[in-house]
């Protein structure tokens, strides 16, 4: 059996609309850096808003501050590492 992506790509190319779509994408990909940064900022904004909502709920509704601080440290430590990888990879694209 051929690889899954070969089946998918052959199926895409067999459709009549595939050629203009592929040409459209190839035009946009000439400015790929802008697309990457657009995706970066969309994810960053979404993550920031989501995190603010989480922190709000932790401080507003939790009982006992120790678990809240442990959760925050764990959450933002891992998030910091991921954001760094995300940002550095965007720089290198």
């Amino acid at each position: 059996m051929p690889p899954f992506n070969e089946i998918v790509l052959d199926s895409i190319e067999s459709f009549d609309f595939a050629r203009p779509v592929i040409e459209f994408i190839s035009d946009k990909f000439s400015n790929f850096g802008d697309i990457v940064w657009f995706i970066f900022f969309v994810v960053l904004v979404f993550f920031t808003i989501y995190s603010l909502v989480l922190v709000y709920h932790w401080f507003r509704y939790s009982i006992g501050s120790l678990m809240v601080w442990i959760a925050m440290i764990a959450y933002f430590t891992v998030s910091f590492v991921l954001l760094n990888a995300f940002y550095l990879s965007a720089l290198n694209i």
């Binding site: 690889p3 899954f4 992506n5 070969e6 790509l9 592929i22 994408i25 190839s26 990909f29 000439s30 790929f32 990457v36 995706i39 994810v43 979404f46 993550f47 989501y50 995190s51 909502v53 989480l54 709920h57 932790w58 507003r60 509704y61 939790s62 009982i63 006992g64 678990m67 959760a71 959450y75 891992v78 998030s79 991921l82 954001l83 990888a85 995300f86 550095l88 990879s89 965007a90 290198n92 694209i93």
Partner: protein, 175 residues
């Protein structure tokens, strides 16, 4: 925040058993892993690279992979903590005067119900199934006198011990 009256104190804070959290998280974990499995087991990366270069004139690099994986992981991580927050903020407070049932239904949606100890009439512990028995978690059905005659504390650990705490507080109030 819950406001306690002058001579009221919290005897016990109860949350759902950790297995409930695991059950809520497992769907997200599977969803997170699926793209990796599809990529590793079903994709021939040479075909994908040839397609991207020949058709879309895009030259992939390892940075693209890191970019995609880190974005996907970041979003999954945030969602995982949302699930944990929902689990953590669901709780029952047993005070010397009442039971407060706090149910967090997602963000900005919170239900708080209060049941006074003197209205509690009967308590039933329910532990169903092999896993619940082995891990000692279950439900507590509390019969009350009033408009809502029964409320259920679902999926808590050591339900018999919790029942004893409630009974003890109810007996103290009744004296």
């Amino acid at each position: 925040m819950i406001h306690l009256s002058k001579d009221e104190r919290v005897e016990k804070v109860i949350r759902k058993h950790w297995l409930i959290l695991f059950g809520d998280s497992i769907g997200l974990i599977i969803l997170y892993i699926i793209p990796f499995l599809i990529y590793w087991y079903l994709f021939d990366s040479t075909i994908t690279v040839d397609f991207l270069i020949d058709k879309i004139y895009f030259h992939p690099s390892p940075s693209i992979l890191v970019f995609t994986v880190s974005a996907w992981t970041l979003l999954a991580w945030a969602k995982l903590f949302a699930i944990w927050t929902d689990y953590y903020l669901d709780m029952w407070l047993i005070t010397n005067k009442r039971i407060v049932d706090i149910e967090q239904k997602g963000f900005f949606n919170r239900d708080i119900s209060t049941f006074r100890m003197e209205r509690i009439q009967d308590i039933t512990v329910e532990i169903k199934g092999v896993i619940a028995t082995l891990l000692n978690f279950g439900n507590i059905h509390v019969q009350t006198a009033g408009e809502s005659q029964e409320f259920i504390i679902k999926g808590i650990g050591r339900p018999k011990y919790v029942k004893e705490i409630i009974m003890r507080q109810a007996d103290k109030v009744a004296k």
